[in-house]
Each structure stands twice: as C-alpha cells, then as structure tokens.
Symmetry: D2
Subunit: 115 residues, 4 copies
C-alpha cells in the first residue's frame, strides 16, 4: 500500500464505518498527528545519536518505529483529505520548489540554516 | 506523485546531490519533522474550531497548509528510508490492526479514549 | 514549588543522583519535551473544542493533564539549564517584547496572524 | 521573573488587556505550544549532536534558543491557568513520584526505556 490515494480511501472508509468523521476536524487531527510524532520522539530520545540508526533499525525498536511512522502517515493523509488537499501534488510542487531554492552548487555538503 | 516509493526515491536523490546525508541521522530527522508539524500547528492555532476546515481549505491559508503537509510527508518518508522501513507496508499492517482493534460494532460514533 | 530556580535545582540533583547527565544533550532533551507535549495533545485530541476546558478541568482527565503539564515543564527547565539559559530572565524579556510588538490599541480582540 | 505565579499573572493581564481570552481554549493553546516547540526543534535539527550544547549555548543561536524556551513556557503557564491547574504543585508532585519510580540504586547510569 504505497499509494497515497489508496491510503486516503482506506482511511476514509475506516472513518465512515465507525462514524468518526465528527471527530476529524482539522485542529483535532493536527493534535492527533502531534500525539503520534510524540510517540516517535520517545523512541529516539535517549538513544545515542550515532547509534540511533542501528538501534532503531533492529528489533525490538524496529517494529515500534514502523508502527509510529505509519500512525503519523495515516493522520497526515486524513488531514489532507478533510481539507481536500492533494497531498501527492503538494509534495511534487514542494520538491520542485526545493530544487530551485537549494541549487546543488550553492549548498553542497552544507545544511541550510533555518531563519 | 502519489506513490511513496517515488517520493522516497526523489528525496534520496535530492539528498545525495547535495551531500546532505550526513545530516539525516534519525534524531535530526525527527526534529525536522517536529519543526514542520509545528508550522502546521501555527496555521491552525487561533482558528475557531468550527471554522477551521473552511478557513484553511480556502486561500490564502490553503496554499500554506498544502506546503506544510508536504514538508511533513517528505521528512517522514526520508526518516523511514534511512531506517530501511517500508512505510507503505507498515501502513497496510497498521490499518489492518486498527480494523481488528476497533470493531465497527463496538466503537460506532464514539472515539476511543487514549490510555 | 512555583520557583523555576527551585525546579532547576531539583532536576539537577535528580539527574546527578542517577548519573543521567550523559543522556541530557540538547537534541535528546528537545525530543523528550516533544514526547511529553505529544502526551498532552493526546488527552485533548478528540475532545469537542467547546467542552475541552470543562472536561479536562475535571477528573479523571484533570490529574493526567496536570502530570503532563509538569512533565513538559521539567524537561523545559532542564533544557534551559544544560544550555545555561536563565529561563526566568528570558521570559521577562519575551513578555516585555510582546507588549511592544502587540500594542493594546492595535490588536484588541484580534489574534495576530502568524506569518 | 522566576516565579510561575508571577508569569501566570503577567500572561493573564497581557491576555485580558488585548481581549484575547476567546482564543485561549485548551486545544488552541496546545497547538500554540506545539508551534513554539517546533521552532525550538528547528534550531537544533541539523546541529551535530555532540556540538549542539556548545553551538546553541553561544551567539547567535543562544538568543534564539532563549526566546523559544520562553515562548514554550508562557503558553505552558497559560494552558495550566485556563485549566486552573497549579503548575508548581503539579511539578512538585511529579518530581516526588519520579523519585519513587526511579530509585537511585536501580537506574544509576541507565536511562529508563519508555514502554
């Protein structure tokens, strides 16, 4: 299930079957997204930075990480859906803009500073 | 671009071209994800709950929301990639588990309480 | 214990007694803060906006909310401490600046739009 | 201004003078808190973990970090206030409970795993 449209349709059906649409106003969905991002952060918080990839990429953390990543994605897709935003198209546009904003020659090896 | 694999491949190329892979350890990517979720939250924070869908679904907010949703997605996909997690498969498994955990007959019209 | 300096000193002693200082680098503490904010968000996510104050202000939610608010505060105070930032002074300066930035006559009854 | 009660009273006056109380329902305040935590995360996201304390503790980042820490605190204090939660007392109780939950002899040098 690597297609955003398929995930959106599954979430839409899941929500309608349970009559949960009343809970899915945008502010509530952003809070739900925050809750799942928080669970992701908890997995990583005390891992030494240089070992985090190895530790979280192996069991038992790997399973938890995959579940939390999925949780974030489903709320993100659901939020886009209730706002009638085409998430795939928005992503295509954003990546296109990022290529223009950070030309390879200007930023090679240097992360941009957030201002 | 509604395919997670395509977005993953685009982000991978984008990162490699700029030699930014050194910045993309998991803890840093979770923080980047948090930053983008924070920008999404800022758009919604003072909107009246019952008008949020209408206000954020229309310009000028609509454009900003779409951009922030895309930003969250690209960091989420990138984080899954560096951890070698198949995000689509994780999502399929999570939705399957959610159907078992929240049977339609038990939870109809009633959001589950987080415990 | 309403004094930030007292909380800072308690957290410092708590950390040293357990030899947990090695875990308290800034990125890890920000992630811990995010985890606690996520738990706070989870309490509120599905509450109807207009009933959230009443529902969260009464038991059983009241106790959970108080605990999560405290968790956010202790990590915030700890983060300021490891960065040697005087949180009380920073707050005084920020409130002073906010009074200048949002003159009463300009913004009365109208929340500022985040740009 | 290291006293939580003083900060609460300042924020209360600041809000009332601007008639912003209508915006300060709990869900909106949690979203505002998330926005500020996101700005904090953005400062740290690409800093190498082992240099983050030094880099963020020095100018120019030090000033930004102090401002964001203060922003998080004022929304946290405001949220506790609208819910009529005594944040200082909640923190005292939480630290007391943490001492009981993590006895020095059991956890020395070993961060607890979040479960």
């Amino acid at each position: 299930m690597s297609d955003l449209i398929g995930i959106r349709d599954e979430m839409r059906a899941f929500t309608e079957e349970r009559d949960w649409g009343r809970y899915h106003d945008p502010k509530s969905l952003v809070l739900a997204l925050v809750g799942e991002v928080g669970e992701l952060a908890e997995i990583f918080q005390w891992l030494p930075a240089e070992q985090a990839m190895e530790l979280a990429g192996a069991q038992p953390l790997r399973k938890r990480v995959a579940e939390e990543l999925a949780d974030v994605l489903v709320y993100l897709v659901r939020l886009a859906d209730v706002l009638d935003v085409d998430l795939g198209e928005a992503t295509r546009a954003k990546l296109h803009a990022a290529r223009g904003r950070y030309p390879v020659g200007d930023v090679h090896g240097q992360a941009p500073v957030k201002s």
